[in-house]
Amino acid sequence: MENMAEKAFLEAYEAHADALFRHCYFKTSNREFAKDVVQEAFCRTWNYMAEGRRVENMRAFLYRVAGNVIIDEMRKRKTTSLEALEEVGFAPVDEHTPDGEAFASGQEALRMLRHVEEPYRTMLVMRFVEGLAPKDIAEILKESENVVSVRIHRGLKKLRTVFEGEQKDE
């Protein structure tokens, strides 16, 4: 019985770790930090389940826990904003990255996203990087679908402004 729960949990890890990592990476702009967050999120989720409580939607639950972990870590590190963290650490392209070029392009998206403030940035990451439907995002964030759509719309508007600004600069 116990082993079944463990097996199921590790399957969930294999299924969601990458997406969760990407989510955290684009939220925090820091590869190592994002990895820590993902690990901590899985541990906290395990603890929650080990206390006998049920997790209805594993993916949504993991995203919420990861969001809380990021907030907790931010408080601990006494940095008031994500921007401050971005100043501290930017993981360079390293050998772990499967596709250097793609990673570099990922950086481009990341760079633009940094100009979009929260909560719009998370919306854009979830919608366009993770490819989640507004309905799924709404479920994960426990917001109404309408709120999500509006935020995506505003985020996009902001992103286009950033992009056009960059085009002009070039």
Binding site: M1, E2, A5, E6, F9, L10, Y13, E14, A17, D18, F21, R22, Y25, F26, K35, V38, Q39, F42, C43, W46, N47, M49, A50, E51, G52, R53, G67, N68, I71, H96, T97, P98, D99, E101, A102, F103, A104, S105, G106, E108, A109, L110, M112, R127, F128, V129, E130, G131, P134, K142, S149, I152, H153, L156, L159, R160, F163
Partner: protein
């Protein structure tokens, strides 16, 4: 409307390929797996009371005990109830009836209470045996061992209660045990004293026989000649020695169990104080820690002004009265 322009889409398309490398993923999996092993909660373990698991879960002797009790009927169990160490039915009382009752005690708190009761029962038996003059070394040892076992179980289980129900509940249980033990310790000491006094019919029934004898000797010595005094002194010394042996033995007899109870009391006090300290710490941290999650914050923030004011009014009224 809510879609990316083709140019932007291309940039985001690449972003989608940001993943953990296999090595990173495996390393993290290793961490999580070891974390899972260290943190196996009770929640995943199926209830031992689930259908079919009942007898499997129980220790074999206990399962057997239940069967035996059912077979013999309540009569034996009832007769065993008043058995004392050395009696044939004593083991039925302690190892079968009490054990079976322990098995059907589900909650941790109830289990602690039952262990407290079992420790108490051992001390009551000791008092009964001693006052009847039936206490033997064997019975003494048996009672000591069993008392220690249950007293230890109380402390261990109190820890479990502390983890599950908080230190407040655990501290209360420990305090209860402590006060009960104190009562028994007094009874025990009195029984021992009464017994040693009765056993030595020649000696006057006094609290401190040694002192008494010494005083008598000195009196006799001072009223006699020097030689007589010396003789008396010698005799007194001999008498004292003999008396001393008796006393040592009594002391030993009294202390073995009583001393253990005292030692246990000291330890218990320590454990209880620790639990009480936990309670205090918890109270303090409750006062300072505000762990508001973001969702709650989002809901609360727009209304903070009005809500806060109302709260203040409500709080002020009773104190003004």
């Amino acid at each position: 409307m809510n879609e990316l322009t083709p140019q932007l889409e291309k940039k985001f398309e690449n972003a989608k390929r940001v993943v953990l490398s296999r090595a990173e993923k495996d390393a993290m999996r290793g961490h999580i797996e070891s974390f899972m092993r260290e943190n196996r909660g009770g929640g995943m373990i199926p209830s031992p009371w689930a259908a079919g698991r009942f007898l499997v879960f129980m220790h074999k002797p206990v399962a057997l005990a239940l069967v035996v009790i059912l077979a013999l009927g309540g009569g034996t169990a009832y007769a065993a109830e008043s058995a004392l160490p050395g009696d044939t039915l004593y083991s039925v009382k302690v190892d079968i009836v009490e054990e079976a009752l322990a098995v059907v005690t589900i909650s941790d708190e109830a289990r602690v209470r039952w262990d407290v009761r079992r420790a108490e029962r051992r001390l009551e038996e000791a008092v009964e045996l001693t006052s009847e003059g039936r206490m033997t070394d064997e019975a003494q040892t048996e009672i000591e061992e069993r008392f220690e076992k249950f007293a230890e179980a109380v402390e261990v289980r109190a820890k479990v209660v502390e983890e599950k129900k908080g230190p407040r509940v655990a501290a209360a249980l420990l305090a209860e045990f402590e006060s009960k033990l104190r009562g028994h310790e007094r009874l025990l000491a009195r029984a021992d004293k009464g017994n040693s006094a009765a056993a030595r019919s020649a000696a006057p029934a006094a609290d401190e026989p040694t002192t008494m004898m010494a005083t008598m000797s000195v009196e006799t010595a001072s009223s006699d000649s020097e030689a007589g005094a010396a003789l008396m002194f010698e005799a007194t010394v001999m008498e004292d020695d003999e008396q001393g042996k008796h006393d040592d033995k009594d002391e030993e007899k009294e202390s073995q169990l009583t001393k253990k109870v005292r030692a246990r009391l000291e330890k218990l006090e320590q454990v209880r104080l620790e639990a009480e300290l936990e309670v205090e710490l918890e109270d303090i941290s409750e006062d300072i820690e505000f762990d508001i999650d973001d969702e709650a914050l989002e809901i609360l923030l727009p209304e903070t002004g009005a809500g806060g004011a109302v709260d203040m009014d409500v709080k002020l009224i009773p104190s003004a009265l």
